[in-house]
Amino acid sequence: MHLDNPQQLIDWHDKIIAKQKKIKKKILVCCGPGCLANGAQDIIDKFKTVLKEKKISGFTVEALKETGCHGFCEQGPLVVMEPKGLYYTKVKVKDVEDIIEQSIKNDKIIDRLLYNDPQTDKKIERYQDIKFYSHQKKVVLNNLGNINQCNIEDYIANDGYQALSKVITSMSPQKVIDTITKSGLRGRGGAGFPTGRKWATCRKVESDTHYVICNGDEGDPGAFMDRALMEGDPFSVLEGMTIAAFAVGAKQGYIYVREEYPLAVVNLQKAIEIANEKGLLGDNILGTDFSFNIKISRGAGAFVCGESSALMKSVAGEVGEPRAKYVRSVVKGLYDRPTVLNNVETFANVPIIIRKGASWYQKIGTPKNSGTKAFSLVGKVRNTGLIEVAMGTTLREIIYDIGGGIIDDRPFKAVQTGGPSGGCLPASKLDLPVDFDSLNEAGSMMGSGGMIVMDDLTCMVDVAKYFLGFLVNESCGKCVPCREGLYQLHALTVKVSEGKAEEADLEKMEKLSEMVIIGSLCGLGKSGPNPLLSTIKYFRDEYMAHIRDKRCPAGVCRALITYKITDACTGCMACIAPCPTNAITGKKNEMHVIDQELCTKCGACFAVCRYDAILVS
């Protein structure tokens, strides 16, 4: 059915709601990347076969939903049963029949599949009661985990496309821009530029055509928020882009997705086709004279192509190198035309703001940082996964309430935000509210939303070395301060990690960092030294330990550590086979010994020892 006017959309919405009301019970199987990797597809298939075999009254395959990421990746594969919110974790194919027999047919709870709260050691039945969920504020991720990934009916049932309909029937482009400006929405890609202002500038530039681009080139190590949105709720991104196009006067849009997200590419493509078919995208949207088309442009895995000007070059088929932005892309962007480029999450926020109003949105978060922010919470926290919190939530709430604290109750050491452009914040900054300005002030940045938590077994020199090494390879290589400067900074961190650095090298690193920051062409270079500078700022002692005492306090830097076997050794022989260089010798029930000459300090023995008999020093 092609929608020829806004009324038809309303009628369709009502029809879908009436149909869905008949479905009393729903099974939601999370098909986010984490759950899929753990076999969610097999679980879906099994559910389908079992449901076919056993006809259950009042329950059909339609009530089985393949949803986007539900968030709690750590506990996947996840199966949620609505309306109660009954929540099963680490589900396996063999559990499927049980779930149908007991939980669907007889409304019984299967104890073994429930989530066990590690702090209270109690089983929790509903996901809403789990701390990981209860401390979150879901706005932009609300559809994820609730609706079928590429099903437009589900999207419309959850008020999808109401915003677009409202915009083209009752709003002028200027009014759309004013609403977005009033909402205080800032770009979720990292820098936090006010979205309304960006659109307003672009609209004002006279040109034969304008472009709208969605940046889905999420490249920060450990970040997967945009991926989850593109895979699990592609229509929200399309709707947001279409509204942006209406506001700035664009007819053509592009979604730049990295090729490493194959499912995102497939789902977005599917969503574009469906939206086109329904008259919600393409020529004469909802029967009006507003037309907007979207094409997918796939990135080939270069981190730098997430930078807006490099991304536009890549879309145009040129080498993905940034250009100087003395003339901004809103004035002269893709094919030298005025271009609005926003991140996936920014676009996904737009329909919600239009639907619920700028004042509603403004009330979430803090005055200068309204709304929510999605994060991928990873690292040494108990609960890893995809989360969304109101702006201004403190790091402590995120790490200890949502994240459940540090694994094995080890001490918290640092949290890394903003990927290779961000920095590491220490325990003294745990009460920092998470928003664009506070993070910048503290020497880190919001970035697109990666949040990596580190415990005392993480060496901060090693962290800086990792991120610099990443950037040495991922710099586009065009300008000298970034290409050569980051290379030398990396070489200097290697020197520190090997205990070969002198105190003067620390000052040298800081000086070179300053030059890389003022001299580099684009944001990648200008923010590249951040991981280094923030770790020097907050963990100077650790650098000094490497330099002065030739010691790595966290026991990470190989050149500075030794593995020794202590009296606690029971002679179980478990460490002998994993040693790749046969450096460990010993007989059963006798204490083993590591030959230091042969030891490569790979840590394999340390990882397998059950008696904490291996000492790193």
Partner: protein, 256 residues
């Protein structure tokens, strides 16, 4: 026209002009290695960075590459402020670590007081400074035979897939404009070899002198509307012919 202050002196410039163009016109010595009048400004070497501010910026200043910065009314430019000099020194120091054997880099670094790099010398650092003048000029000429390949510290200039470039016509524009003379080429009898591709040279039908490559002549006659026969005679012989023609015309005029 716009008015700007450069190193304390008021200077006029045309609207839309890039700052570096104005600096060069005013004979202010600002180094630049990736700048070439034949191609669009690029902003890779960062040596032409200058410090800019304006009266109403409340003391804030910014560092911009003058090659890419369009002039603005009221701009206050310092081309050799302490920070700018420090940046240039650092860049040349980094260059010296990567290209320790390039005479051009060594000279420029010495001009800024850098005689030995303070960083780790890069093993296998060749003399290509990745200014991309060669690839950009090749694009401008219309060949697109070479490009920068890869990214990060391992980026390099190369033909597609590191094979003999099918689109190269041996025009030599890349090699002759390379600021560090890195691109190698050899002449051997009737042949020119560049990028591992061997080209037959045209021979002047009058004096026997070797001129441009046959492929280049064919390209020019096809795409620039010049008859191929024009390239069968060398430049000198063309000029000799021109002198003879001019002499003829003069004598006709005298007779008339």
């Amino acid at each position: 026209m716009v008015n700007l202050t450069i190193n304390g002196r008021i200077v006029q410039a045309k609207e839309g002009e890039m700052l570096l163009t104005v600096l060069r016109r005013e004979k202010i010595d600002v180094p630049a290695l990736c700048h070439h009048e034949a191609v669009e400004p690029f902003g890779a070497c960062r040596l032409c960075t200058v410090e800019i501010t304006k009266e109403d910026w409340n003391g804030y200043s910014n560092y911009v590459t003058s090659c890419l910065y369009p002039v603005e009314e009221g701009l206050i430019v310092s081309t050799h402020s302490p920070k700018v000099n420090e940046l240039r020194k650092t860049i040349l120091d980094l260059f010296l670590a990567r290209h320790p054997n390039s005479p051009e880099i060594r000279q420029l670094a010495a001009d800024y007081g850098v005689f030995k790099t303070s960083y780790e010398t890069v093993v296998d650092g060749n003399n290509c400074i990745l200014c991309a003048i060669c690839t950009r000029i090749c694009d401008t000429m219309g060949f697109h035979a070479i490009s920068t390949v890869g990214r990060g510290h391992g980026k390099e200039v190369a033909p597609p897939l590191h094979q003999v470039p099918p689109d190269c016509v041996g025009c030599l524009a890349c090699a002759l404009n390379c600021p560090t003379h890195y691109i190698e080429y050899t002449f051997d009898n009737n042949y020119l070899t560049i990028w591992d591709k061997k080209f037959e040279l045209m021979v002047c039908s009058r004096c026997g002198k070797k001129t441009i490559t046959k492929e280049f002549a064919e390209y020019l006659s096809k795409h620039r509307d010049i008859p191929f026969s024009y390239f069968e005679i060398c430049d000198e012989c063309h000029r000799k012919e021109l002198a003879a023609t001019m002499g003829q015309i003069t004598s006709w005029e005298r007779e008339a």
